[in-house]
Symmetry: C2
Subunit: 222 residues, 2 copies
């Protein structure tokens, strides 16, 4: 007869992704880095906005970029490097979103101790990235006026867990049918009081409040 | 001792999705219907182009639409109904692409014998839909000029298995940086000789060759 033994039963309380994400967040914090996960549909102007942000902030903040891409072309990372920030590209090999481990691999290629801000440019997709914590301290969505004002109604999940929303390409407002108050009404339903900036990376209009927000977040780091 | 028996060994030759897709294709064919799967990024103008197509073709073809959506709002289906075509909406409950079974559910709600053309409006996404055969006879992609001319380079998979490509929102060309020959060079690399139409659903420019193509496909049905 075997002795009666107590077997510890441990419940799975988190996913492997969330475990790695939490570690990422700790590593960013230890290095005094504010990390932001920028999501958007393909062609919403993520890279244009990131490049403009680097140009306008590079004398005040040390910025690094982790570029998520489905293919291995370095179009976006090249533009970031040209703007004057270190960039690392992580390729998802066809996957439709970034995960925390992809971000960890990117983090290893950056000198985090020498940075204040890490921008993670997610893969262009309004659906799948919503469900994956990358370990950033904040999540942003860029929504371009050319995509239409119905996007919050049609892709609600991604609007729910945002810390900040950027409406982009406002220079094209005169040429498209985009009702800002209908758009904002949809956002308000999903994420009441969400901080929202209306911007044009092309003309620079509306960039300053977004830059101020980023600066305040980075200054809040230890 | 047991008798020696021959056990048939059957290899899995297809996925359940591809099996259902093949059946869908047979059902469309039996009903003399040409079915086309229209894919695009969010906000590329899928619904606008479908609505314009219905308006211009409804006196010559009997058209039905299967609308794929991640959420249950019926914004797109309402627009299609208004344009004068029967529409059925299939909700993916957050899934990032349509599959053959969603299309089958939609087909059941349409009177296929009374239709010539079924347009399947896929969920707005440039990555995941590429891998899912829906059982249509053709696959189309809509790429808007506002998304930028680098999309074939950055989302190559979806360009590879297309039968037809529609460049949309050409009325906005004067206001955006979009190099059509750079775009087409990327497409040619992935899908040589791909039939391409440049269109504006807003002004109607360039719609006729696309309508002629659809008419020729529908007339080719038994």
């Amino acid at each position: 007869m075997t002795e009666s033994r107590r077997i510890p039963i441990v419940e799975k309380i988190t996913s492997a992704n969330d475990f790695v994400a939490q570690e990422n967040r700790e590593i960013f914090k230890q290095n005094g880095v504010f990390a932001i996960n920028i999501m958007a549909a393909p062609g919403a102007g993520k890279t244009a906005l990131i490049v403009k942000t680097i140009e306008l902030l590079k004398n005040r903040l040390r910025i690094g970029v982790i570029e998520g891409d489905t293919a291995s072309v370095t179009i976006d990372a090249d533009r970031v490097l040209l703007a004057g920030a270190p960039a690392v590209q992580v390729t998802s090999k066809g996957e439709c979103h970034m995960d925390a481990l992809m971000v960890r691999e990117g983090m290893k290629q950056l000198d985090l101790a020498a940075l204040d801000l890490v921008i993670i440019e997610n893969i262009g997709n309004l659906i799948c990235p919503a469900g994956w914590d990358l370990g950033s301290q904040a999540c942003a969505l860029i929504s371009s006026v050319t995509e239409g004002d119905d996007k919050p109604y049609k892709y609600p999940a991604i609007y729910r867990n945002l810390d900040v929303l950027l409406v982009s390409k406002t220079d094209l407002l005169p040429y498209v049918d985009f009702n800002l108050s209908y758009f904002q009404q949809g956002v308000e339903m999903l994420n009441p009081g969400l901080i929202t900036f209306t911007t044009s990376a092309k003309t620079g209009d509306g960039m300053q409040p977004w830059l101020d927000w980023l600066l305040s977040k980075c200054q809040g780091q230890p």
